[in-house]
Structures are given as structure tokens and as C-alpha cells.
């Protein structure tokens, strides 16, 4: 059927369809006004196509041969990272005698297309840049492959007349998805922590994770990884996705390279799960990924939407030097565009990680579904100053040299130190986050915290009270929110949580919908200058499509 007949036919069908049958609101039984069904033409079809054709970086190793699949150059058993692009047969059928659709790949060094049977159809470096589809060619499908995140090429589609003239041209962008780091609003999937029996052990922590998370919790062997318990620091989980359920999990492997260095290769790497490193050379503490976190999704004061949140990390100033995440990783994260990173000043901290004093937690009652949990020393002193100074604290005695509440309260230097931390670092952090994320007071929840200078840390600090902000956001098998929080042990009877000076304040601060799991991380983590979050890592489910929600960053 040629174009003219198709228009007439469509109009006729539309007219008949609307003219037959009674409109329930029309009691006269006569037909109401007719509506023209938009006709589809080659031109309208081309012009109506989405400009962006989303794809996925083929950087994993589906056939297990030790090479990224892109480098295999095709014929990869188990390959599942090619995204289909289809040009329908009924549109081609509209072509007139001698007409064709020409598809030209422009700038295709990092993008190529295959047939369903594995023939290479388009690849810039091979000179295969043009396909021509005729009227009777049937449905045309390209299986698009990308070599990297956000790799892009143009696919120029032209309706070419019999004489060679171009009636309609449409440029499509073949774009691979960015690599997106996880935020705490995403449902948790699997959780890892190391089981330790020495140095006091962490049995209660492991048991709690096991009880709550079941087979979604995985123990790491201390012997296998040299007792390097800081699972958060060695790796960062991220994903890239594409339509049709395509998902690739990526482990961003830190250059930290301590005992856990081989963990991702040993236990995670495989089809659809790859390990990648950005940077090399000696690492600073800021290259550890307790120092790499992501805000929840938000819209800032200028109206810019960040559907995947924004990355934030700490920078540590000393003299004329600034210690930060390796430049290669920093640059890569900036190049992904959708989670524009920003920095916080963590110079007051010995370890220097953003997770030591703040985090974000889901809260369905919050204006935007989350709250900032921020350490506050004034709140801690308010509680301690009002408490019985004779309350004995055995953990603080052996761990920090404070036998009771009174010794903490009466330590003038400690109080002045904490006031400095609040004034010079915590308050400015709140201001920075408030401005960056357009946070309201309602979204900021303060929790009691105290810091102290630790031998070996020069004049920087670590948590005196176990850093309660240094928690894990998880979900049980039913999706219920579970928070795994360092126990502050601000009590004499360790079994009597109700008597703890700090726990009531924390419970009031955290979302009512959350199940609070108090974790004894004292010996293995707190005394090692970290807490629960530092010793744990979590994969999360991607919940947002970049090709519909984040294109404003990719234009």
C-alpha cells in the first residue's frame, strides 16, 4: 500500500471507528465529532524516534578468557551486553520504488553493530560505516556494542529517494550508560564483612548480620585476606544499565591494595561482574572508599535534578598539601556527569574519611525521603553534663583511659578539642551540604558524638564515642529497613541498652520505620579507628534509568 492509499485508509478506519457505536453521554444516538488518527509516515517515524539509543559498556568478561569482551571482537559465548536497535518492517514497507533507508555510523571508533548471527555490520575502524535497507528487507536489527562507559557514536538515518536525494535525515546518538555509584536509598542486595576471632573478635556483629540478612550476608575469611577487616575501603560497588534489563556490576577497586586486594577477583568477578581500577602508585588514606559516598537523589536550589544523587569525598589538607582521591578516579567520576562530585574537608580526622561523621538514611516521612545524619558534639556534652558523673564505663577505661562519665566531662582539653572540631569542620560541613543539596532543617538530624586525639594520629582525631553515623543501611528479605549501628557502650551494664546514655538519643533521631541493630564493633573496628560501615560493603539494586531521568546531563 503506497503512502496516499495508507492515509486514506487510515482516515477511513478512524472515521468508521469513531462513528460506530453510541457515545454513552450522547442520548441522541447520533455520532459525535470525529478525531483524526495521526498518520505514520517515514518522515514522522524518523522524526519521532528518541534521539538517544541507550547501550551498555561491554567491559566485562562473559566468556572468562581474561579479556574485556569488547576486545574479543565478537563471537563471545555468553555475550549479553549488546543492546538491540530495531528498524521496523512496516516502516520500510512504506518505501517507494528505488527508495531506501541508509544507516551510517559516524565517529564509530568505540561503537559497533552486529547482526543476530554475529556478523559485523558497522564499525568505524574497519570501514564498515553504511547499511542500506530496502522496502522488502524486512525488520532490521542492529546489536549495538560499546567499548566503555558513555562511549558514543552517531547513527545517521536517511530516507533516500530513488534519485539519491535525501528526503529526511535523523541523527541518533548511540550512547553507553555511565557508571553509577550506589546511594543508600537503593535496596540492599548482598553484604560482606570479615569474621574475626582474634583481637577480641566480632562474633556479635557477624551473628547479627547473619540473623537479619540470612544468605544475603557473606563472611570473608580473615586468613585469606591477612586480617584486613576494612571491607568498605578496598572496593566501591557501582552499576551501569541499559533498557531490556541489561545490568553490569562493576567493582571500583581502590589503589589502596592492602590485604583485601584480591577479594573482588577471588569472590566477585565473573560474567556481568567486573573489576576495574582507576589510578596507580602509592595511596593516601583518602583513596580508601570509606571516603567515597553518594548523597540520595535530590534537586538543588537552582532546580537541577540529580536523580542518582551526587558523589562526595573528603580532602585532607596538611600544610601546603592536599590529600585526595587519585586524580584518575576523580576525573573518571567527573566524566560520568550524572553524579557530579563535590568535596568535604576531613582534615580534622586521623583516617580522614567522610563516613566517620555523617551519612544519609532513608526515611519515608522526610520531605524528600531521606535524612542527613550528622555528628554533633554539643549534643553529646549536653547528655553527659546532665548525667551522673559516677557512671562507670569499662570500655572507655580500657580503650580510652576514661573510667567514668565524670572523667570525660571534666577533661577540659577534650571539651575544647571537640568545640574546635564542631566550629571548624562540622558546622561548615552542614553549611556546605545545606547549600549543595538545598537541605532544610527538617532533613538534618544531629546525633551525639565526641572525638579525641589519638597517639599516632599527630594532631588529628578519631571517634571517642563509637561513630554512630558510621552505620550500614540495609534491608531484610522483605525489604524492611535495617540499620546496623555501632553500639556507643555509654553504660555500666552492657546488657542493659535502656540504661545507655546515648542510645535513646539515637533512637529518637533515626527513622521510626527502621529496625535498629546495635553492633558491638568495639575491639575489631572502633579500637582500629573505624566502625561498622568501615568494615562492611553492600551491593544495591539500581532503581532509576539514566536514559529517561538523566539525559539533561548528557546533552
Amino acid at each position: 500500500m503506497n503512502t496516499t492509499k495508507r492515509v486514506l485508509f487510515g482516515t477511513l478506519v478512524a472515521t468508521l471507528a469513531l462513528g460506530c457505536g453510541d457515545d454513552p453521554a450522547d442520548n441522541t444516538g447520533t455520532s459525535s465529532t470525529t478525531t483524526t488518527v495521526p498518520e505514520v509516515t517515514i518522515k514522522s517515524y524518523l522524526e519521532g524516534m528518541d534521539e538517544v539509543v541507550p547501550g551498555i559498556a561491554n567491559v566485562d568478561d562473559d566468556n572468562g578468557n581474561g579479556k574485556e569482551d569488547w576486545r574479543d571482537g565478537g563471537d563471545v559465548p555468553g555475550e549479553n551486553d549488546l543492546v538491540s536497535f530495531t528498524f521496523p518492517a512496516d516502516i520500510l514497507a512504506m518505501l517507494g520504488e528505488g527508495e531506501l533507508i541508509r544507516a551510517t555510523l559516524v565517529g564509530g571508533q568505540s561503537v559497533r553493530a552486529w547482526s543476530a548471527s554475529g556478523d559485523l555490520l558497522l564499525e568505524g575502524s574497519s570501514g564498515l560505516t553504511t547499511l542500506e535497507w530496502a522496502r522488502d528487507g524486512g525488520e532490521q536489527t542492529l546489536h549495538i556494542e560499546h567499548d566503555y562507559f558513555l562511549s558514543e557514536a552517531k547513527l545517521k538515518l536517511e530516507h533516500v529517494g530513488a534519485g539519491g536525494g535525501v528526503f529526511t535525515r535523523r541523527n541518533l546518538r548511540l550512547v553507553a550508560g555511565p557508571l553509577i555509584l550506589n546511594h543508600h536509598m537503593q535496596p540492599s542486595e548482598d553484604t560482606w564483612a570479615m569474621k574475626v576471632t582474634s583481637w577480641g573478635g566480632n562474633a556479635q556483629m557477624i551473628d547479627t548480620f547473619t540473623d537479619v540478612l540470612g544468605n544475603r550476608f557473606h563472611e570473608l575469611s580473615s586468613n585469606a585476606y591477612g586480617g584486613d577487616v576494612w571491607v568498605q575501603d578496598e572496593i566501591e560497588f557501582a552499576t551501569t544499565t541499559a533498557p531490556g534489563g541489561h545490568r553490569l556490576d562493576v567493582v571500583i577497586d581502590s589503589i589502596r591494595d592492602r590485604g583485601l586486594d584480591s577479594f573482588p577477583e577471588n569472590e566477585l568477578e565473573g560474567p556481568d561482574f567486573t573489576v576495574m581500577v582507576w589510578g596507580s602508585g602509592s595511596a593516601s588514606s583518602q583513596d580508601s572508599f570509606g571516603n567515597l559516598e553518594i548523597t540520595p537523589p535530590f534537586t538543588d536550589a537552582d532546580g537541577t535534578e540529580y536523580p542518582f544523587g551526587r558523589i562526595y569525598y573528603g580532602e585532607w589538607d596538611y600544610g601546603n598539601s592536599t590529600y585526595s582521591i587519585h586524580n584518575d578516579l576523580k576525573t573518571f567520576m567527573e566524566e560520568q556527569k550524572v553524579q557530579d562530585p563535590f568535596t568535604l574537608d576531613t582534615s580534622f580526622l586521623c583516617v580522614g574519611h567522610v563516613d566517620e561523621y555523617m551519612t544519609f538514611v532513608p526515611d519515608s516521612t522526610a520531605p524528600r525521603g531521606f535524612r542527613l545524619i550528622m555528628s554533633d558534639v554539643d549534643m553529646a556534652y549536653e547528655i553527659l553534663d546532665a548525667a551522673d558523673p559516677n557512671i562507670s564505663l569499662s570500655r572507655y577505661n580500657s580503650g580510652h583511659g576514661f573510667r567514668d562519665v565524670g572523667e570525660i566531662v571534666d577533661d577540659n582539653a577534650l571539651r575544647q578539642l571537640n568545640n574546635e572540631v564542631q566550629e571548624d569542620y562540622i558546622d561548615p560541613t552542614i553549611t556546605r551540604l545545606r547549600n549543595t543539596m538545598n537541605l532544610s532543617d527538617e532533613e538534618i538530624v544531629l546525633i551525639p558524638a565526641l572525638f579525641e586525639t589519638v597517639s599516632g594520629c599527630y594532631n588529628t582525631n578519631a571517634a571517642l564515642i563509637p561513630g554512630t553515623a558510621n552505620l550500614i543501611v540495609g534491608h531484610d528479605a522483605n525489604g524492611a529497613l535495617e540499620l546496623f549501628i555501632p553500639d556507643p557502650f555509654m553504660r555500666t551494664n552492657e546488657n542493659d541498652y535502656a540504661s545507655d546514655l546515648m542510645i535513646p538519643a539515637f533512637e529518637a533521631a533515626f527513622p521510626a520505620e527502621a529496625n535498629l541493630n546495635w553492633i558491638d564493633d568495639w575491639d575489631v573496628y572502633h579500637m582500629g579507628l573505624g566502625e561498622v560501615h568501615c568494615g562492611t560493603n553492600v551491593t544495591r539494586t539500581p532503581t532509576t534509568n539514566w536514559w529517561t531521568e538523566a539525559l539533561h546531563f548528557l546533552d
Binding site: 575501603d233 600544610g319 583516617v351 580500657s398 589519638v454 599516632g456 573505624g530
Partner: protein, 265 residues
């Protein structure tokens, strides 16, 4: 143990069915043997636990998240281990990173520890060890550490001098060493100047206020910050009227500018 005792009961019941005194005699003999056996095993287990109590001479520190070593096992702070730990530190058989961890551990000990840590500050060849050791002296009695702290203020290593200045400020009786703090306000090292200024404020040395304003023009932002804060602590009224505040409110170090603005509010 419980399974063995249950087995004894089963055996008794089984033998009971045989009947009369011989059976009872035999039963008690068997039961006695089983109980004796379990008691022996239990005692062996207790003995094994006693043998496995901490050997402080070979105990290893763990690597903290910051990368340096620390003894995290609370057991080691018990008074009973202080003497051996002190010997281990003073004999300097370990490398410097372990000695630093030992010095830190001892400062948390419930036993006698001061002598060993003082010795370390005075004599350890490695400045990083002396630096780690001096921090713990804030918990010692002033009369036991005054001399070593004052001497350490002249240590050849700037890090040791800085941490000593900080420790004096952290000590409840650090006000006794204000002159020593003032004397290093002109130290060549910025950290020393900063920690001394800070400590002058921490100990409330109002008489030293006049020694601080020059530091408001120090090349180091940290020194300017510490000096300004100390001045605010010692005399907030005078500090609020400082002519230097107008410049400090635009200081390149945002901590300084924020503090200056706050003082001037």
C-alpha cells in the same frame, strides 16, 4: 561432657534391668569412671585456657584503618601485664612501629606504665616513637612527667616538639608549663607554633595573651587559627576589638575567616 554424662545414665538404666547388687556395684564403677573421665577432660580444658592467656611478649598489634599499628585487645590494659609490656618497650626489641603501639597501649594500662613511657620519650632513637609516646603522658601525674615534657620541648624533631606542646595543653596541670609554651611560639616549625598557641588557650594562660597577636600574621593558616582562638578563649572582649580582625575576616584559610567573622558578630 553432657553427652558422656547422658551416656552414663543410659548405661545405668540398662544395667538396672539386669537386677541385684552386683549390677549396682558394676553400675557405680562404670559411672564413677565416666564421671572421673569427664572431670579430667574438663580440668584439662581449664588448664588449656590458663596456658593460652595473653603472652604479652609476643602479642601482635593490628593495623588500624589509618595504616599504623595499635594494640586493640582490652585484655592487654589489665594491670597484670603492665610490667612485661614496660620491659618489652624499654628493651626496644621491636621495630619502631610496634614500639609506638606499645607506648600508646601502656598509656591506657591500669598498671604501672609511666616510667617506661617516660624512658621512651627520653631515649628512643626513633622520633616517631618519641612522638607517639609523649601523647600518652597527658594521663600521668604532673610531677612524674613535668621534667621530661619540658625537655622534650627542645627535642631535635619538630614532630616531637609539636606533640609535646599539645600534650602540655591536654594535661590537667599543663598551666605549670606556660613559659615553655611561650618559648616555642617562634619555633621554625609551624606545627610547633600552632600547638603551642592552642595549648596556651587550653590551659587558660591569660598572662600569655600578649604573646599571641604576632601569630595572627603567621604564614601558616593553622597557626593563625590557633592563635586567634586562644585569644578569644583568654580574653574575648579584647579579641573582639582587634584591628587585625578586618583582615582575618577575608583570610585565605576559611577556618580563620569563619572564626574572625564569628568573633566580630
Amino acid at each position: 561432657m553432657l553427652q558422656l554424662q547422658s551416656l552414663s545414665w543410659v548405661l545405668y538404666r540398662a544395667l538396672f534391668k539386669i537386677g541385684d547388687n552386683l549390677k549396682h556395684l558394676l553400675t557405680f564403677a562404670v559411672l564413677g569412671s565416666v564421671y572421673a573421665g569427664t572431670a579430667f577432660l574438663a580440668q584439662s580444658s581449664i588448664a588449656a585456657v590458663a596456658v593460652d592467656t595473653v603472652d604479652v611478649m609476643t602479642a601482635e598489634p593490628t593495623t588500624t584503618r589509618a595504616g599504623f599499628l595499635r594494640f586493640t585487645d582490652a585484655t592487654l590494659t589489665e594491670a597484670v601485664y603492665a610490667s612485661d609490656l614496660s620491659d618489652r618497650l624499654m628493651n626496644a626489641v621491636d621495630g619502631p612501629t610496634v614500639r609506638s603501639a606499645l607506648a600508646e597501649l601502656l598509656s591506657r594500662s591500669q598498671g604501672e606504665w609511666v616510667e617506661a613511657v617516660v624512658h621512651t620519650v627520653q631515649h628512643d632513637a626513633d622520633p616517631a616513637v618519641r612522638e607517639a609516646a609523649v601523647v600518652g603522658l597527658k594521663r600521668a601525674e604532673w610531677q612524674d612527667v613535668e621534667s621530661v615534657l619540658l625537655t622534650a620541648m627542645s627535642d631535635e624533631d619538630a614532630g616531637v616538639r609539636a606533640m609535646t606542646a599539645m600534650t602540655i595543653g591536654a594535661h590537667p596541670e599543663g598551666a605549670n608549663a606556660v613559659q615553655a609554651l611561650v618559648s616555642v611560639l617562634g619555633d621554625s616549625d609551624a606545627d610547633v607554633r600552632a600547638m603551642a598557641a592552642r595549648s596556651i588557650g587550653w590551659v587558660g594562660a591569660t598572662d600569655a595573651f600578649s604573646a599571641l597577636p604576632d601569630l595572627l600574621e603567621d604564614v601558616s593558616g593553622d597557626v593563625r587559627l590557633r592563635a586567634l582562638r586562644a585569644m578569644r578563649t583568654l580574653d574575648p572582649v579584647t579579641t573582639a576589638q582587634l584591628p587585625q580582625l578586618s583582615v582575618l575576616k577575608t583570610d585565605a584559610d576559611t577556618r580563620v575567616s569563619n572564626l574572625a567573622k564569628k568573633i566580630n558578630e
